[in-house]
Amino acid sequence: MTTFLDNVFNGLALGAVYALVALGFVIIFKASGVMNFAHGSLLLLGGYVAAVLHDDLGFAGALAVAVLVTAAVAGAMDRFLLQAGGGADPHAAHVQTIVTIGVDIVILTDLSRRIGGDLLSLGDPWGDSVSGLGPVTVADSRIAAIVVSTVVIAGVFALFRYTNWGLSLRASAEDVEAAALMGVRLVRVRTLAWCLAGALAALAAVFLAAFPAPGLERTTGQIALKAFPAAILGGMASPPGALAGSLLIGLTEALVAGYQSDLHVLGEGFGDVAPYAVMVLVLLIRPTGLFGGKAAVRV
């Protein structure tokens, strides 16, 4: 039973961190129709900046700078690279998606070169301390992950609901032309969405590099890829869907990895691909994701 609770808790914590990443991913998609393949390297960038600066600025200071830098880079990427060609063409989104792959390679190569084989510590305040929650021992950093993610995600939802920007974003996602006619500054709304996504990714990096992971290394960014199936199966344009999807994915991964020895028949290491299997299954049943609406197409 303890093992089960262990795994469930781990799954929730993982899910919470994935939610930060998946949410950013969904925001970008909602705002620009682009699947941002550079999300992983943005995450790594955020973590790297925090790792490099935490000695001089302290954890909080380094984190703040990291969030700002990542947001800036994401926004710049959108404004100067993706939107430069003019984004009105509905097929441009596919092309821009592929461009993000190129950006990902560039950023990742440079960061990999800098990080090399090192394990960087982010100087987080939780260290390797653990607490007992009933029969289960959990890492403090995991508890913090769940708490911080919940707060931040609630904040983002509030942003969507109660601010002008949130309204503009939802409007332009629904009908781009009408929104433009109503005076929504499309370019600005979109770029801000990218900035927000970058900031969320940087935050996620902190928890991904914290205990029980040994530190930030060049492959940490790859974890962002697990958020793709999470975002997809929740419905790409649906923030609540991203949350639900992430929790589902996190739980699946933790449970499969934890009970790996009992799941021999699926092959070792199935935990890594379980999220994708779950995603395909969900898509077959609901082709636009759990919370995605049916798309109406004019013929």
Binding site: F29, T219, P229, V297
Partner: protein
């Protein structure tokens, strides 16, 4: 006017001949290092044609092309070698291409149900799941280390350095021989794709891109189309395998480098971390 037209055609033809001539002459001048790079490029070109048909003309975002590459590649190795049926290599090659096409066909129900960006990520799932299966089924695929590739043999002529061959004073090793095979396969792909695009299937593909709903009404056998689209990747995989000796699953399915047009998978599986 027809005279001017035919002059333009003749000039274009001239340039084409020149290009082909240069390409055919290259193995006589370049050493294996450059020829290998050229072979990688040719393989990539074949795959790119396929992907262009699928994503460009038909508008189906496919990020999982590496999977079909892998099917073609591993299909050839298994069919032509042991353990496996040990078929004659040419037969194995043709069957491998068809196998990749069949894989595409099998995927088409999913492709039919899921649209747009969701299709893109569903194909990405194909890559991951496929990679997992390939790593686990090591009796067929050689697992983590991959398997040796049986060199292609056509009627006694082997596309490897096993037999001595010297043309015009230049020793012809594996890379030189494969070069011409690569050129031939690329030409086949080119002409097939061109024919496809100019005919009814091509118009069907464009209809698919412009309006899937409308196209669904009029298209029958969308899976046939998809099979045709995925076959070039079997070719691609084949060409790559033909000049590979031992390849690891991580380089065959989603290659961690620039030889595959399926770059989307590169961030996904690129840094499969090392073992010493």
């Amino acid at each position: 006017m027809s005279e001017r037209l035919s002059r333009a055609r003749a000039i274009r033809l001239g340039w084409t001949f020149a290009a082909v001539a240069v390409l055919c002459a290259l193995p006589f001048y370049l050493d294996a290092f450059w020829l290998r790079i050229g072979l990688f490029s040719m393989a990539a070109a074949v795959g790119a044609v396929g992907l262009g048909l699928l994503s460009g003309t038909a508008g189906q975002l496919s990020l999982g092309h590496a999977f079909f590459l892998a099917v073609g590649a591993y299909g050839y190795v298994w069919l032509a070698g042991e353990p496996g049926p040990g078929l004659p290599t040419v037969v194995a090659a043709v069957l491998a291409v068809l196998l990749a096409g069949a894989a595409g066909g099998l995927f088409s129900p999913v492709a039919g149900r899921v649209r747009g960006i969701y299709l893109g990520v569903a194909t990405l799932a194909l890559v991951f799941l496929g990679h997992h299966v390939l790593l686990t089924a090591d009796s067929v695929t050689g697992g983590f280390n991959g398997r040796s590739v049986p060199p292609l043999e056509v009627g006694g002529f082997s596309f490897s350095a096993d037999s001595e061959l010297t043309l015009l004073g230049v020793p012809f090793g594996a890379e030189e021989r494969l070069w011409y095979l690569g050129l031939a396969l690329f030409a086949v792909t080119w002409f097939t794709a061109r024919g496809l695009l100019r005919g009814r299937p091509g118009r069907a593909l464009v209809a698919l891109r412009d309006s899937e709903t409308a196209a669904a009404r009029y298209l029958y056998g969308a899976s046939i189309v998809l099979i045709l689209l995925f076959a070039p990747d079997g070719l691609h995989g084949l060409v790559r395998r033909l000049r590979a000796r031992v390849r690891r699953p991580r380089t065959a399915p989603p290659p961690s480098n620039a030889t595959s047009p399926s770059q989307p998978t590169a961030p996904a599986v690129r840094a499969k971390e090392p073992t010493p």
